[in-house]
Symmetry: D2
Subunit: 368 residues, 4 copies
């Protein structure tokens, strides 16, 4: 049942449950000499909670990271770095009712079978979106390493429900605006519609899904370890650890299935003495290796399974059909919260591959 | 640069290049007592090459498996099983021209950078679709194990280019018809259109992509090791090792991003004393665990990058822009060949997880 | 630089430094349904610190475990279990002097090179014996699992310096007496001599090594995964993570190198309908698999490198030869403290192998 | 039951049985650009079979390596390298008698239990010393990589039975003479006695064990990944995969348990601008990291379990006590054959660690 570690030479091991005492991560394999303090995590963690109570769960999550190991005099030592965030609220009463009534769309039912009913069911326990705090924390470290290679990861809400960004967004716009809107969409007009749509959905006791697009700039050519430890395969595996993810594609992705080879192939050219492709349908990945072009991927999130409407379920004790109406806090759409999680997840996978490929040394020099 | 093994307790390690002496796989962790002979692999390997020269590469691939280790008196011993298929044809002259001219859409360019130009470029070398023979062979063993649990894997061509199966296909139809058409589509009318479309594309020196859908029946509830070794994440990682894959989704997948929670949630009911869901938008996976419903996934394949048309590229030696026209054998669409590969890939991942979850013992009893 | 996890399906990840804020471990892969409370760890942790200030470092280590995750209603959930012990004392001034003067016999010098001088040098940092608290904690869980299979692990001080137990100790004596003496030797007379010897050594500002012998009872036949994941190889790897270990052998071990085959082979017989061997020179392991006989191993510990005498070293800043005299707390002999660590280490490796071999299920039933 | 791979970034996967069709290894993670041809393996493989029929098994092992993958134009490509040696002789009749009579000292009995009786029992099958050919082949590649760092591995027979080299052997003598004697002992006088002793033992139908010492020169300081992936722990795990190994220690090893700290600590000095220790009791390893001094280790081999004398065993079918007398080919002492195996095993572990530590690049430049 082991499965809470990921990465080969930059490895994170996560722990903690929604209503347990804390959420944490052990980051093993971080080079020594990286400046790191508790406050480094604040920005990323705050990005996870849009400052708009109307679109996120009412739960107060004031996350303050405590560095428990692996840092000395403000610098990483090469020893495993443990990061912990306490879970502030402990009101677990809400969840006692659902103990034997698996909520549709949640992991409740398979988890009860898998763990023989011993799983912590409060708030989804280990399966809660709360666990993504671990990924965010690991991602903060990973992003600090990537910034030394000028690698930048820019995710945003491409669509929420039926509201979709259809135009091309420039990297500059992405950098500037994606976190300026509570829905994490850099197109300010679309963002307004998305927000409205989420609020409406909440009112209806319903929920929405959406698509997050993510662009990674400046990944060197040739990163990845085919045939199995491909850059796309490892990204995909990591991304599926984020709750509610149901699909991933790279570049033109599912659309490429409809194109002809002559339309889909990215042809080569030289630009500023560098080999580039004049299109990027491949999304920066060829044969499981980075091509040097921006890595582009889309991640599909299903609508939050927690809804305020009546749903059919089964009482596992009595084995009778019944119904359930979920009350309590929940996000009407996880997409805004998931944007920084996708960025963090990407960062972790890339650092693991970049160390393997020799782009990040074991010991860091002071940064220019 | 290691990366040619996958699986935790049922692990395959693959080797071989398109134009090397052979293609092979070491299967480690197969329980002892499984009947296995050379001929067991014939059916699966022959499925890889549709019997229709008009739609596949002209290359003759008469694949005959040699079991080199791990089998004694026709039964697996618990030792690693090594399977090798010789590469019959060795005419490699065709590829000398492309040595310094990376083919658009292929892994040539990042591979040259990754391996310092030492990679075997003939026919894509290690990146060739030929390597999927390793997966097929591992899959044959995995499927023999799965059949003891009545687990069945049924993949088919859902779309090729713009030709798409739109109606629901019954499991029975899938079982019966998917390999009866050369394009591996169980809808006989659509199959004809697909075939025609591929032939037309070949004539034009062009190529097509497509979508493979795959259904897995009878997976027990609760298989998977969240949060990282999820059943969907591990399937995704494996699937991305298949050349030309650009996306994967489960259940309603990307479509679920547009649905409301009330539409997408699968509600529970009891049917024949068993807990089921009355829809299967989740595609049989919740929280990274199998739900007991059929696992359903779609895989997007880009059009074959090898096309007979002129394309722009760069001469890596001279660093001048130039063009290339690829001659020689190549498949105008990889989808038909990839159908059994997707099935094999799924089988390997599932066996690995089922052993971990305790559903397959270390030593097999004689089968009833 | 990753390397702080061990185990395949029962995996521990350790963290923490001697003078950091805490020592901890994440235990991933523990079956669900195991009763576990904070106090379960007290006994094992207290075994680590013999109640005799004359033979251990003056450092006060009142270790209180906090279960941070993976336990709900007093039972393991199947999620990763995180255990943390705070480091009480923080007086780190003692170590500033040694920053540039590597102590002979310690890891200081290679660690400085490996981590570019960023390692936490206080008290050896990550290399301190203090880190074995993580192994003890993981071991407590592992031993609870083993007890369900009646597997018992009995380690003891076989020799300290030149004082050695030469007679055979019965399992009963081991059970009863090994922790009744401060040196963890079940022979009460020899124990007195050992204690005296350690006290004398301390007075001289010197230190002693010793040999720990360990017996494991009731391991089923056939546990281990040759050829590389052998039971002896995996035990050895784990044991070398304990500071000051310099050697390990099984059964007659190094002595067997002098025996003839006819003397060393353990011949088979039947006893109580069970196959046994009439001797156990193999130490319970044949071909990397458990033989069903008691597993017996010896572990050599070098004398504590921290001594109060003047020693030659080099100033790494000036690259001049100089000398160092280590003051402060240190154990004159690590063997007594290491006895429960060896037991814990064995328990962790065995549980990992027993789960793989199918002897421990994913979900535990209530214990009879 | 998986367990036939070892290494993290330089990983070998071995396969094959004593009386199967072949013995092989897949080497994954070898940098590209290394010259490699079939004949490169001849020297190492021939070292395994001392040219003296009186001291080795009568079995003819003319081993010829076939490179099946991973090499193109005489250079490694970065793809997995598969090496296979055919098993020439197939006379398996000798072993039918022992099918139900486990041979004392062999893995027969636990293997039958582990694999449910499906294991290939001929000649020990997967447990045979014949399997070390895989390690030798992997080692040849590893040693070619190490030679670029001037790292040299020198193993020799330190003792056979009661005949022991007691004087210090210079590195020069080791280099020159260790393979010049059939017993692989560089002290020519002792070598004669060893040979005589083995011949005498063979005449008596008995067997001998012995100790192999191994020195590794020029390993850089700071290699290893504590706390679990230590250099000594990883070496130990690998060494225990060699049949008949019962113990390993480093530097003064078990002897250090009797020394005082003041005697055992290696003090630092400067020699030719380099930090050295004036003794090397640590055997080149401190805290799981290389210290820069020669790595020194001793490996204890038990006497060959196959002897020509009558021994007690049990008929597993009838569960009656009986006796067995093993006829056929077998080595009266495995030590001479094991000397190059120990060297190869060390090489493989070191390359894995040196790649992780950044000392060996992914792509090799032409050698000066």
């Amino acid at each position: 049942m082991v499965g809470n570690s990921i990465g080969k030479v930059f490895k994170i091991t996560t722990f903690g449950e929604s209503h347990g005492s804390c959420i944490g991560v052990v980051v093993d394999g971080c080079p020594s000499g990286l400046p790191l303090i508790d406050n480094d995590f604040n920005e990323d963690l705050s990005k996870r909670i849009p400052n708009e109570p109307k679109i996120v769960s009412a739960r107060k999550e004031i996350d303050k990271v405590h560095i428990c190991s692996g840092v000395f005099k403000g610098l990483t030592t090469g020893a495993p770095i443990t990061l912990i965030v306490d879970n502030c609220e402990g009101i677990s009463k809400d969840y006692d009712l659902i103990k034997d009534l698996p909520r549709p769309g949640h992991a409740d039912y398979p988890a009860i079978i898998r763990y023989g009913g011993f799983n912590d069911y409060r708030g989804g326990g280990r399966f809660s979106g709360r666990g993504t705090v671990s990924i965010i924390m690991g991602g903060t470290i990973a992003k600090k390493l990537l910034s030394r290679l000028n690698i930048e990861i820019l995710a945003f809400a491409k669509s929420i429900g039926n509201i979709e960004v259809k135009r091309t967004i420039s990297f500059e716009e992405l950098r500037k605006n994606r976190y300026s809107t509570v829905v994490r969409c850099p197109d300010l007009d679309i963002a307004k519609l998305m927000k409205k749509s989420i609020i409406q959905s909440k009112k209806e006791g319903n929920s929405l899904g959406g698509i997050i697009e993510c662009v990674v700039l400046n990944v060197p050519v040739g990163v990845g370890d085919p045939v199995f430890d491909t850059i796309d395969g490892d990204i995909a595996k990591m991304i599926f650890s984020i709750p509610a993810v149901k699909g991933i594609d790279f570049g033109t992705g599912f659309e490429s299935a409809k194109l002809k080879g002559s339309e889909n192939n990215d042809q080569y050219a030289i630009c500023d003495d560098t080999i580039v492709t004049t299109s990027n349908n491949a999304g920066g990945i060829l044969g499981g290796l980075s091509s040097g072009m921006p890595i582009i991927l889309s991640v599909a999130f299903k609508p939050t399974p927690s809804i305020g409407l009546n749903q059919n379920t089964v009482n596992l004790k009595t084995m009778k059909e019944t119904s359930i109406k979920i009350s309590g806090r929940h996000d009407p759409c996880v997409v805004p919260k998931a944007v920084p999680v996708v960025e963090a997840a990407l960062a972790i996978v890339l650092v693991d591959h970049l160390i393997r490929a020799g782009f990040i040394p074991n010991v860091l020099k002071e940064q220019k």
